[in-house]
Amino acid sequence: MAYPQTTKTILTAADISRTVDRIAHQILEKTEGARDAVLLGIPTRGFPLARRLAGRIATFEDVSIPVGVLDVTLYRDDLRMRAARAIGKTQIPPAGIDGRLVILVDDVLFSGRTVRAALDALGDLGRPRAVQLAVLVDRGHRELPIRADYVGKNIPTSLSESVRVRLSETDGADEVQLYPGTDTSAAPATGAAERRVVA
């Protein structure tokens, strides 16, 4: 079997830290200094990742990139499949997103449906110059024509597995794990959340 039968750590705390550093460098390189960039984290774990990226970019190049948080719950395409869920916080930096380069940040890229929802939400908030996507983990199984511009790690997975990202800000420790089994509500076949993990 190519896939683990037990929980396996894919990224340790040190790996995550190095990965965030690398993505920060890549953003600076690809956007020529990220002067007009805005980082928007998708809750829950995209937001702390966006903050970390902004922090690293500030250390490397002394540019201060505005960081915001963009909740996409109200734009999801699977709302009718489950009971109404609590919505998260949305906070767009005061300077707005019009004419700027918006970099969406999320922890795991899976079906692509969360990113689709985020793109729709952005359209209602303003008109960015361009939109890019940064993710810590790309686990494949896309259901929409969406790709990431910055990927921390590509993890080949089976649909019968789940990826769990833990970050110190939200979960008390930094770690990415792959474990067997799915939270049925999170299986992409039902079109549900990409980041959904067993509580």
Binding site: D71, L74, R80, A84, I87, L125
Partner: protein, 307 residues
Amino acid sequence: MIAHLLSAADLDAATATLVLDTAGEMAGVADREVKKLPTLRGRTVVNLFYEDSTRTRTSFEVAAKRLSADVINFSAKGSSVSKGESLKDTALTLQAMGADAVVIRHEASGAPHRLARWIDGSVINAGDGTHEHPTQALLDAYTMRSRLGRLAGLHVVIVGDVLHSRVARSNVHLLHTLGAKVTLVAPPTLLPVGVGSWPAAVSYDLDSALSGADVVMMLRVQRERLSGGGRDSFFPSDREYSRRYGLDDARLRRMPAHAIVMHPGPMNRGVEITAEVADSARSTIVEQVGNGVSVRMAVLYLMLGGL
């Protein structure tokens, strides 16, 4: 998440807090370029109003439209109700047209409860007789929380025609659930029978109640309901009512500096509240209207946004 919203007493603290938190996020939509969310696309909300209303009906309509629901306004005037159609037949007609939610205002207390048993969709009570008006209580709680930062431990004084006020009844239930302390102040003739069993203190003296108040909520003198027995049977004159139970500048100055003034509207300026107080910086009356839209968006989302 919530099947029907018939009474503020149906909401436990966790659900009520969820509604207020959701409303806080919905409020951001009003400041955006596109004041619309796609969330309730394809859902139908019927506003079924048997009584006159400006702000509540408009507020529900704006809330539903901001969530992209289709809205059908149905008022008793100019409908088959004026030909004698019963509530049940009207309800079954709306059901057949595929209403996902019915927002009902009715002069009979308990009408929304009946309606909830006849139709499959969600029922939201937008005011039934002298019984309840739960979304008003939610928007009042939301306004207090956003002005004063909390609800638990607040002292809220509700003044005026408690007897006919669904706003007062819903507020007493909800504020009690959320940990605020309520004092009702009214002339004895305008207090309902059994008010002693409500989770609230009762006083006949406005001045003594105001000294420790964080919030004072003035109720409208409901002329249309008072006319039944003749207004004279409830209090001698507007002038005397206003002197004993009206909020004027002098009373406002004696209240703690942080205290806010609320009124569910529509106001009788010069009777329960003077124009200076209504227009002062400590009055939240206009804010309440704006908050009403956010709170109703939250309620509609939590009722219709899921399975």
